[in-house]
């Protein structure tokens, strides 16, 4: 069928059954191998991703980036890994040993587990559980537990402060994240990631641009990337919950963070950019895998770009942006979308009997245009609202500094 993963599966299955294993045992062995390969790949691809990110960041900041180890510095990450392996893992006095070492392990596990439900091609997915999207949210909460463990067990005030700050931010942004995860579920009518990807002849990013943007923002905060990187604001709390970690224990946190960013890109590609969908991907599933990788790296590049350009924001700004802007906006979007879509469905059912169908691009057009209209209206409202908030904040600041003596412009630098 042209799908490399199915071919490999058939080959291995035939081989194992040929050796005398029963089909069930053969399936179990293959599942184990697949899980091992998947988990290893998630970590190994970081070697390339970290190099890519440092290179792109360097270019954004008008530097060259890593360029010493290997051609274009491509082996820099390997060298860093070897260096970290030779460093001491310091155990701070008064540390709570078991949680201290459990934290980085759970952190990495919480990221790898996400990949179980991401569809790579039309036919290949780790496991298409019927609660796929909720599974994502549940696995994400493991990461929060890991942050708490690290902060608590380090016996360090900065680590504890950083952990609680991180937890406050992570749980807050989990609300808009889960709310926007609901949008593809609503439109697809299923929580299976495979079905969500398959139901996008028109990408959800095109029919629901606002939902995609809110999800991107919420995910950026979940990953803790700039402008939401105040979990490790070095000028305030050293390195947050990672302060007391060194050597490979630190490397695991580092790896989890990078893997999380890449995973976020893969999630957005699957949920809003059609995953493996693209011309010819249904006939040649391997082609779908290539589309999926391209989309993932496109989103990943976007996240590097925002990291290289946006300044860090304050914790109070982070919290009020979430609770007073993103969450109300998400609720309004869900209410209006469901209402408009349901009314359109009942009214238009006679003219467009395929209104709910996701079979082809033409079938999807009436529904997609209604979703797009709702998104654009709410999006316009959001832009107006945020502009109003920004103007108010500027006025407030001008009043706050108005008692200061005015500075003569141009005299000070003479």
């Amino acid at each position: 069928m042209g799908d490399i993963f199915t071919t490999i599966y058939n080959f291995l299955s035939g081989l194992l059954v040929g050796w005398g294993a029963s089909p069930i045992v053969a399936d179990a062995i293959i599942a184990f191998l697949a899980a091992a390969v998947l988990a290893t790949c998630v970590l190994l691809i970081l070697i390339f991703n970290i190099w890519l990110e440092r290179k792109v960041l360097g270019r954004i900041q008008d530097r060259i980036g890593p360029n010493r180890v290997g051609p274009y510095g491509i082996f820099q990450t390997v060298a860093d890994l070897l260096k970290l392996l030779t460093k001491e893992i310091i155990i701070p006095s008064g540390a709570d040993l078991v949680p201290f070492f459990l934290a980085p392990i759970i952190m990495v596990a919480s990221v790898i587990l996400v990949w179980a439900v991401i569809p790579f091609t039309a036919k290949t997915i780790g496991t298409d559980v019927n609660i796929g999207v909720l599974y994502l949210a549940a696995v994400g909460s493991l990461g929060i537990m890991a942050v708490l463990l690290a902060g608590w067990s380090s016996n360090n005030k900065y680590a504890l402060l950083g952990a609680f700050r991180a937890v406050a931010m992570l749980v807050s942004y989990e609300v808009p994240m889960i709310l926007m995860l609901m949008m593809p579920v609503l439109i697809t009518g299923s929580m299976r990631m495979g079905e969500i990807a398959a139901a996008q002849p028109i990408w959800y990013a095109f029919s629901m641009p606002l939902a995609a943007v809110i999800f991107l923002i919420a995910m950026t905060a979940e990953v803790g990337r700039s402008p939401f990187d105040l979990l490790e604001a070095e000028s305030e709390i050293v390195a947050g919950y990672q302060t007391e970690y060194s050597g490979f224990a630190f490397a695991m946190f580092y790896a989890a963070e990078w893997a999380h960013a890449f995973t976020m890109a893969a999630l957005i590609a699957t949920l809003f950019l059609g995953g493996w969908r693209g011309p010819g991907a249904e006939q040649y599933p391997t082609l779908g895998f290539i589309y999926f990788i391209i989309k993932t790296y496109a989103v990943y590049f976007l996240s590097i770009w925002s990291r290289g350009t946006l300044p860090r924001i304050r914790i109070d700004q982070v919290m009020s942006f979430c609770w007073k802007f993103l969450i109300p906006l998400s609720l309004i979007l869900i209410v209006l979308t469901t209402l408009a879509d349901k009314i359109a469905q009942t009214v238009l059912m006679e003219r467009f009997p395929d209104y709910m169908s996701t079979a082809s691009l033409v079938d999807m057009l009436p529904r997609a245009s209604i979703l797009l209209a709702v998104n654009l209206v709410v999006g316009a409202l959001a832009v107006w609202w945020i502009a109003l908030l920004g103007r108010r904040e500027r006025q407030r600041q001008e009043v706050a500094i108005s008692h200061l003596a005015p500075v003569e412009v141009g005299t000070a630098t003479k």
Partner: protein, 117 residues
Amino acid sequence: MGEWTFIALLFIISLILPAVPIIAGRLLGPRKPNPLKNSTYECGVETVGDTWVQFKVQYYIFALVFLIFDIEVVFLYPWAVAYHQLPLFGVVAGIVFIVTLAEALIYAWRKGALEWV
């Protein structure tokens, strides 16, 4: 059940995979602890008092508000999955549920519980 076997396997592997390098790092890396090196890192200043200080109540309020929204979303997910088959009445019932929770958000907002001071 078969689909959960894969997740169970992946869970075990994803715990082992990061544990191995940490253990290897403990074995391969140097191990020369001394009291100064192991002391709490606070930018060179000696640490004062207990680490587990009392935190402000704001963290608690945010966690509580989050908990309520978390439960709300859990109720909404089955509704979202069944959305295609629901009549307009069912959709409106779900919207009433969301609006009630929006009231909770507005209450918290007006009471100043969402201020991070």
